[in-house]
Symmetry: C2
Subunit: 220 residues, 2 copies
């Protein structure tokens, strides 16, 4: 399963969960396709490639779907995560309710000034020096990074050494594991905002050239 | 220019800026391709579609590239943004240094309890009731949302009414403008973490089937 399929699967699951809460028992590929904006054929392909059986003309049984998906998605396992860098952003992530709703558990935070972090809650905060041992001892595979740019690469190197395989990186440094052993999701808030501006500017130019064409057409 | 191209363009710009600081004057499509992990042909296609001229066998002039890109990307204009929902996450975003380094300016924050927000700084915080007037009066086009899930859709509707065209949404609600007038970038931290776990689990399964095949081969 590639990354795109796994993202779609996770979206399907979310929709199906909502339908279940609404009391429904069945769902069709059309419903799922509409909800996440893809063709029903792609929904069927995704689900059949995962060996989730559909029933002819009857759609998919919601309970079956959820249970199959949870097995495939590893939802039944505990999802332990550490947060490295507990400044304002790291602390906000540690206190972010949305995370816990999804069964993810932040088991520890790390900072170079563990006594000065903004987060006040039940997650233990350790000195960054303890990160390496903690990752190894607790078999942690996924981390969130919210450190300043200038230390990001060094911390990333340590993470790779001790076996981190997935990183959600909020630091402004673009990180990448050239050995391909760790999947990095770089979440650069500034770049994302910039991209909205670029997109907007382009739309406006497209709009104004469209208007120009219209005006020209009216003249003809 | 589609969204993917604009994201790549923004990445190219960042690389080129670094090369310039390192004292380089020219860059080749190969360099840019390697740096962001795409084929050199795609780099050339992106740049030529934007009418950025390359010099035969001489690559691209870095100063020319930056100036052309800044015009295309709208970097020369001020980029005003508002943050709606100034809880822990919204406050952390308002205080996030990385944003200001890129020329983005957060001009105001909005919250239903403006006297209780965590952010302490120079950005004014207003009651959410003032958001609509502020957006119209100041011609704001881009917003960041970090509100609880249950109010996200209502606030989004008001934003659409008063002309917001780009939204960076950190609330756990998946938002989408069905009229296509506003581009929404949903940043769901829980989903992103979940996806890392799904990806990891899949990798492990691929690895173990690969091992199984190897073992079988050895038996043969």
């Amino acid at each position: 399963m590639n990354k795109e399929t796994s993202v779609r699967l996770s979206k399907y699951r979310r929709i199906i969960q909502k339908l279940k809460i609404m009391g429904m028992e069945k769902v069709f590929s059309n419903n799922l396709g509409d909800a996440i904006g893809v063709a029903p054929a792609l929904v069927r392909k995704d689900l059949s490639s995962l060996k989730i059986p559909g029933h002819k003309r009857g759609g998919y049984n919601i309970d079956e779907l959820i249970s199959e998906m949870d097995t495939i998605l590893g939802k039944n396992r505990q999802m332990d995560v550490i947060v490295v860098g507990c400044g304002k952003l790291g602390s906000a992530i540690m206190g972010h309710r949305g995370i816990y709703d999804e069964g993810i558990k932040i088991v520890a935070g790390f900072d170079n000034r563990p006594d000065h972090v903004a987060y006040k809650g039940n997650i233990p905060i350790y000195h960054i020096n303890k990160m390496e041992d903690f990752i190894r001892d607790n078999n942690i595979k996924i981390a969130v990074m919210a450190v300043p740019k200038f230390v990001a690469a060094d911390i990333f190197r340590i993470m790779l050494d001790c076996g981190i395989q997935g990183l959600l990186n909020f630091s402004p440094a673009e990180l990448k594991d050239i050995n391909g052993k760790c999947l990095v999701n770089n979440v650069n808030i500034a770049i994302m905002l910039e991209n909205l501006f670029f997109y907007l500017k382009n739309q406006q130019e497209l709009d104004s050239s469209a208007r120009l064409i219209e005006e020209n057409n009216m003249l003809m």
